[in-house]
Amino acid sequence: MSDLNKNLKVWDLPTRVFHWSLVILVAVGLITGFISPESWMGIHVWAGYGTVLLVIFRLVWGIFGSEFSRIETFSFTIKQLIAHINELIFLRPLHYIGHNPAGAMMIFALIFFLFGISTSGLLVLGGEENQGPLAGAVNFQVGDMASEVHTTLVFILMALICFHITGVIIEIYLTGENLVKSMIDGYKVIPKGKTAPEIRPSRPIAAASFLLAFAILSGSVLWAFSTMPPSGIIQMAANSDYATECGDCHEVYHPSLLPLVSWAKLMGDLEDHFGEDASLDQDVTNNISEHLNVYAAEAWDTEASNRFSKVSSDAPYQISATAYWQRKHTDIDPEVFKRNGIGGKGHCVSCHSDAATGHFDDQNIKIPES
């Protein structure tokens, strides 16, 4: 410590732990969202739950934390923000002990977008995947729209992260102060002539009580939602003709995987069924048709029932000919389908262990190695 400068503990431990935990969770969220196979979706979801907890913690700590963690200490006016940007343009930023106005704006933006990403993610999970606390409250259509919002917000978030890192690098360059180190050990250098303000300590008990109350309240609300049965999943009566006649030659496909018109056409075309004569006695045909009429895609609101309803006009009852099926399997080498443990594109259950239920959860995908 020199005579002129002195070190001051600026970032308290919870704020620093928050920052780096968030870095890890956002990284996990991005990797599991964009790069890793879909079967890792469970980790993605947990990264999302973790992120929302961190964001809520940070807001509470913004009230009850120590001096420089408090939101009021980095709430600047527009005028101050413009002044700061001017200083940056002329490469002579003033020194701020806590967050500077640009950094503060970044914090607010990041928290806003992270909250939006977590919320839209929860809607996608409940609407498209029929999982999580909102599985019963949100239908597929809402989940599908939320999915687009989710992706858009994530792209904005990635841009913000780039700005954030660039901003930190610029500030380090202009002020000579190692901000990254400060966020690790908590200390910042106070320049000469600047007096440290009075530092108000954190109020951990108040923060913990507030968080506990919030957790109980939001937990109860989500729990209440989660007691609703998943939307768009109905009870299906067993049909032994459907199970045995179709199942003699191939996997018993869930009736929700094709719309009414496709099933009707398939049942009318049984004499030429994927290259074989699969005709049945009239009473058996009628019984199976009746089953399909009741339980075709229109009766469900799952991701599979919605996606596969958009059938190929060339092959209206071939599930693997739908644009969605092809898009989802485009990264899979054609050789993979020839593996003994798979046995062709029509053998969903080889990789989707829950295929018979029509759910096709991302977490239940496992491609056999041989």
């Binding site: 199942g247 003699d248 030659c249 191939h250 996997e251 004499e271 030429d272 994927f274 290259g275 074989e276 004569d277 699969a278 005709s279 049945l280 006695d281 046995g343 062709g344 029509g346 053998h347």
Partner: protein, 138 residues
């Protein structure tokens, strides 16, 4: 092995035969009824030889993906086959799959469909009788 005295062995054998034979007997008689149903309207006496030839032939007169019986059933009646969609098919030889050809409805259904797929037409009673006689002899 001393505990295995004669009486026990005889009892076990009697129980075993007693337990199995009614099933086997009824399976055999159900199958015999089906075969004689075909042979009674066939021109010639049924022949395992002709059945074998039919099974091993490759007429390729039906649907392009199924040129012969062996496409799906495998080269030998003693071994398992596989449907084009990847489901295993139990061996057709009666010595391996005892309950084969004991349900007339099933027999008619599969002859109708598979003959059309492989031969492009329904099989005659003669062909069906020959085929089942061959499978029963294996």
């Amino acid at each position: 092995m001393k505990t295995l005295n004669k009486t026990n062995v005889i009892t076990a054998v009697v129980l075993l035969i007693g337990g199995l034979s009614p099933n086997l007997a009824s399976a055999n008689s159900a199958r015999d009824t089906i075969i004689s149903g075909f042979s009674s309207v066939a021109e010639l006496p049924v022949s395992a030889e002709r059945g074998k030839a039919l099974f091993e032939s490759s007429p390729a007169a039906g649907k392009p993906d199924t040129p012969s019986c062996t496409t799906c059933h495998g080269a030998s009646p003693m071994t398992s086959g596989m449907t084009r969609a990847g489901k295993p098919i139990e061996p057709m030889a009666v010595s391996v799959t005892a309950e084969r050809f004991t349900d007339l409805k099933k027999v008619q259904k599969w002859f109708r469909r598979n003959c059309k797929s492989v031969l492009g037409r329904e099989c005659t009673a003669q062909e069906k009788g020959d085929f089942l006689t061959f499978m029963s002899s294996r």
